[in-house]
Amino acid sequence: MAAETGTPTTLTLKSNDDELFSVAESAAILSVTIRNMVEDGCAGGVIPLDNVDGKTLASVITYMNGISAIPADEEKKKSYRDKFLSDKDFETLADMVLAANYLNMSCLMDAVSAKIAQVMEKKSVGWVRRKFGIENDYTPEEEAAVKEEHKWTFEGVETDDDN
């Protein structure tokens, strides 16, 4: 609900580890999840965000404030997003993509997905498994079958399975 007096309305967000954050409503409603709560009148007290931890929420709020301060200029917003994500490590990016998904922030989600993919480029299968916490569920026979299917790929290429 917009403030009638013209002073910016502030919302209080609570992370799943009980940290509280105050953020301008105009910035917070970049999240469709939060916007819906505001429109439904459920944003009066503290807004609990059960799927986001404090560290990630702090980062998302920095992004919300930063991007909403930029006027409608897609190029500038894009370069802000690039700069914002440039120093984030894989674990932070992973937490952010989950948070962006939960908060329904499509622009942030697209940017973080692209950044994760950029970090994954040219990495070995072992690296990807480790970072994504995925167990190799191929049996040696199945793996051989997929390699056979990809036989052109491995012609003359030295295999580098782990790194």
Partner: protein
Amino acid sequence: MARSNDNSHVRNFTRSIRKRGSTNIDSLPDELVFQILLELPAEDIYDSATFVCKKWYKMINTDNFINAHLQHSTPGLLIQNRTHKYDRAVFAAIRKGKIEISKFGYKFTDRVLASCNGLVLNHYSEDNYALQIVNPATKHRLFVTPPFTENVSRHNSFGIVHVASTMAYKVVHTYFHYTDDYLYTWGCSLLTVGVDTYWRRVHIRPVFPETAIVHTTQQTTQGFMHWVWNNVCVLTLNVETEVITSTPVPRGYKHVRKWYLSKGKSLSLLVLCEDSSFDVWEMKSETGEWTKTYKVDFEPLSKYGRLTPVAWLKHGEVLVLSGSDLTRVCTTYNVLTREIDCFELDDCCNDHIFKIHTNSLVSLDGIEV
């Protein structure tokens, strides 16, 4: 509950013990994995992501993923040296606003003739007329019956076009051939990949001057092929209906430099005007109707000498120009932001062919000719 009135973070309130580990990536829902994988280049997906686990393999090997990845990928240029250094082909694309050059993992053994949705049509070295379609990202290939080439001159060209309504790919061959009275005539034949075992002649109504060899420029747009006929008319083949129509080119540009280039969806005509600007025209493939769309200021490029436009990137936002004579440097010009960038080839520009190409996972698996 206390509520802060300023915008600073009230982080020091009730810091409790973190409930979980540092990351939850292993709980990533499938749709987020799908979206992340869409952002990867085709070669990384094929060579690496498919080996991560069975779930990823299954997700990647679906028409849904392959099509979404194709739609999501930005078309770039396949640049190949045509002086027998075929394996030195490179891929040039705009990524993050900058031109990026990468090598192909696949070694081309002959000249690239055409490209569509990541599928490249090329000759196959052992036999000059044998044809193959290869996806350089997956290295899968398929041999195509070569066209009948008796009485056909060397002035032939090929195209590969996707027909959206039937999801089929058609290979188009155009040529000049001798008739019984030793005249040259222009002909066109095509073959539906995986369906036809022989090439079908396309009926050409006498809608264009059919005498002597004239200069033609071939371009491909979505579902169509175009041949600019001696700067007089454009012949357009609707690849779905297999009908060729002829339309005149815009008038009034007789003695000026001009180029016909595909924008992907439509054919464009660039005309260099006296005031160092380009008039850009676009043709609707369905009707052959030309419209003057905008003027491009060429002034920022004037200090780079005589440049030749070779292709559009980013759906008509970035123009790629090759330098003249012996220069190896190609220039890119963003017509919206006027940003100029350049990249260097390993031989002079004139020795190269430039084909619009998208790195994709599209395959012709299950299709046998």
